[in-house]
């Protein structure tokens, strides 16, 4: 155990997991916002919006996340030179890598958030929508006041699964040189001998990150489920 202790003391493991959490939180917020907009588009009465939403979801969901992130980093940042941090900044490269990774992660997971919300909308009985219509609510009003509040509560479990998948998927950001947990693990196991033990430490780190989230969302989904 002493050897592992020495190795872990030499590297800043906590900071690396901090970056994982940072990526997760910001991408999750972005994905939730974009995903909600997409979900509304996909159930809207306007055909063009429905098709646009469906096109986005089907395209993004069938593209590997690796490709999206590499494209954001190499294509959009290095070649198209779209900066999310001014070039004068001392941490220009690092910050751009992180921010583009967040954009890519959010764009990718928004498709899954959208599908989770649609499955939530599906848990709302048709009678609710009919009641909303029959008292004269417009589409927007019935969505805001009747459908979406119930849909979010019905979608908690799948949204939790998306969040867990997102947490694990932040590791892909290591490919575009964001120094999060898996990137640090790669460095450590390449330089040190105790590979298996180091892997276990990092793996358990991810279990520690995802397990409480899973339990929380399972509890929430039971607690907040609309009683029918």
């Amino acid at each position: 155990m002493g050897e592992i202790g020495d190795i872990l003391a030499k590297y800043d493991v906590l900071a690396a997991f901090g970056m994982t959490v940072y990526l997760t939180v910001f991408s999750a917020v972005g994905a939730l916002l974009l995903g909600t907009v997409l979900a509304i588009m996909r159930v809207s009465p306007v055909g063009v919006l429905r098709s646009l939403g469906a096109f986005y979801v089907n395209t993004v969901r069938n593209t590997p996340l690796t490709l999206i992130l590499v494209f954001c980093s190499l294509g959009v940042f290095f070649i198209l030179q779209l900066n999310l941090e001014p070039a004068s900044s001392p941490t220009f490269l690092r910050d751009n890598a992180i921010r583009w990774a967040i954009v890519g992660l959010a764009a990718y997971h928004a498709a899954f958030v959208c599908e989770a919300l649609r499955s939530g909308v599906n848990t709302v009985p048709a009678g609710q929508a009919e009641a909303a219509r029959s008292i004269g609510l417009t589409f927007g009003q019935s969505l805001r006041e009747v459908i979406l509040p119930q849909a979010f509560r019905g979608a908690i479990a799948p949204l939790g699964s998306v969040l867990i998948a997102l947490t694990k998927n932040t590791t892909v950001a290591s490919i575009v040189s964001v120094s999060e947990a898996s990137a640090l693990m790669k460095v450590i196991i390449e330089n040190e001998t105790a590979g298996t033990a180091v892997f276990l430490v990092f793996a358990i780190g991810f279990v520690v990150l995802t397990l409480p989230v899973g339990m929380l969302f399972t509890t929430l989904s039971r607690r907040l489920a609309v009683k029918r």
Binding site: P45, T63, R118, S119, S142, A157
Partner: protein, 311 residues
């Protein structure tokens, strides 16, 4: 003609509003496309020569086709291995022997919680350091190992929840005619469970195919890595990635369509698993519960059990 219960047949004002929204939607789409093209043009990415080099035969014979082959090889090997892994550990979790159940459960839960890429980094370093499979094959086997352990665990969960979903009468009937618990599982429960979970299973195959792109991180020369090589060799990074994206989408969309077909076919037969052919696995932990494939959200809400999300 209102097609959804969410909104009424539009009156004159609603129709005007919808026209406005349609226009806005089209403007948004056109605007995004124009912005992308403008940015491309600004950096000289629209030069015909850049895109024309994608048509060179050697680009395909040297890079793209080998890349597709490697992607399919890794995905194919992982699919076979993950199915075996999933069946073995799924049956392990259903075993009547407590230690077997416990061991299988721990392994499955562990590998489901660990990111695939983390496993690939680890197994690749392990294989490369000990040169287990030879220089040319270490990365291939690292990709296959990572994909198998993760997706195999997911499939094990599918097997388990599929069996749990069956009516209790099925196993009781098996036991009452004198079959052992193992025989009941193998010859009565599993065949029904496998049929019921076929759509989710095919969905998982899409995940495997998509995740094989992670191999690029450990120098496995799959499609994405080859696209990068094309970009380096011909100085057309963006066209090369666009091509790779199109190919990936084509492959995955094809598999998704197959999954949809399989599901519809099973639903039409309408008898699998005691009449409960839902497209989700309610028993899966954190699962979404049964959801009808049509409802307020529109047709074909994709299967969203935790296992097929985000990957």
């Amino acid at each position: 003609m209102s097609t959804s219960v969410l909104f009424d047949a539009p009156g004159p004002r609603a129709r005007a509003r919808h026209r406005l929204l349609t226009l806005l939607g089209l403007l948004l789409a056109a605007g995004t496309l124009a912005l992308v093209l403008w940015k491309f043009a600004q950096q000289g990415q629209l030069e015909a020569s850049m895109w024309r080099s994608l048509l060179l035969p050697e680009v395909w014979t040297e890079y793209v086709l080998p890349g597709i082959r490697q992607t399919l090889a890794a995905a194919g090997a992982s699919i076979v291995a993950a199915l075996v892994f999933g069946l073995v550990f799924g049956m392990g979790r259903l075993s009547t022997i407590r230690p077997v159940r416990w061991v299988a459960g721990t392994i499955v839960e562990f590998f489901r919680a660990v990111p695939v890429l983390l496993m690939m980094y680890f197994t690749f370093t392990l294989y490369a350091r000990n040169n287990v499979f030879g220089v040319d094959f270490n990365s291939f086997y690292a990709v296959v190992t990572g994909l198998t352990l993760y997706n195999g665990s997911v499939i094990a969960e599918l097997v388990r929840s599929g069996v749990h979903q069956l009516p209790k009468g099925q196993s009781e009937a098996g036991l009452s005619i004198g079959l052992s618990p193992g025989q009941t599982l193998r010859s009565i429960e599993l065949p029904q469970a496998l049929t019921a979970m076929l759509p989710a299973l095919v969905g998982q195959l899409v995940v495997i195919l998509k995740d094989s792109a992670l191999g690029t991180a450990i120098t496995y020369p799959e499609l994405l890595a080859q696209a990068k090589n094309v970009g380096t060799a011909y100085g057309n990074v963006i066209p090369a990635y666009v091509l790779a994206a199109a190919l990936f989408i084509l492959l995955n969309y094809g598999l998704t369509v197959v999954a949809g077909r399989v599901e519809r076919r099973i639903n039409r037969r309408g008898r699998a698993a005691g009449g409960t052919t839902t497209n989700a696995m309610p028993g899966a932990p954190g699962g979404t519960g049964a959801m009808p494939s049509t409802g307020l959200g529109g047709d074909n809400v994709q299967n969203l059990d935790p296992t097929s999300t985000g990957r």
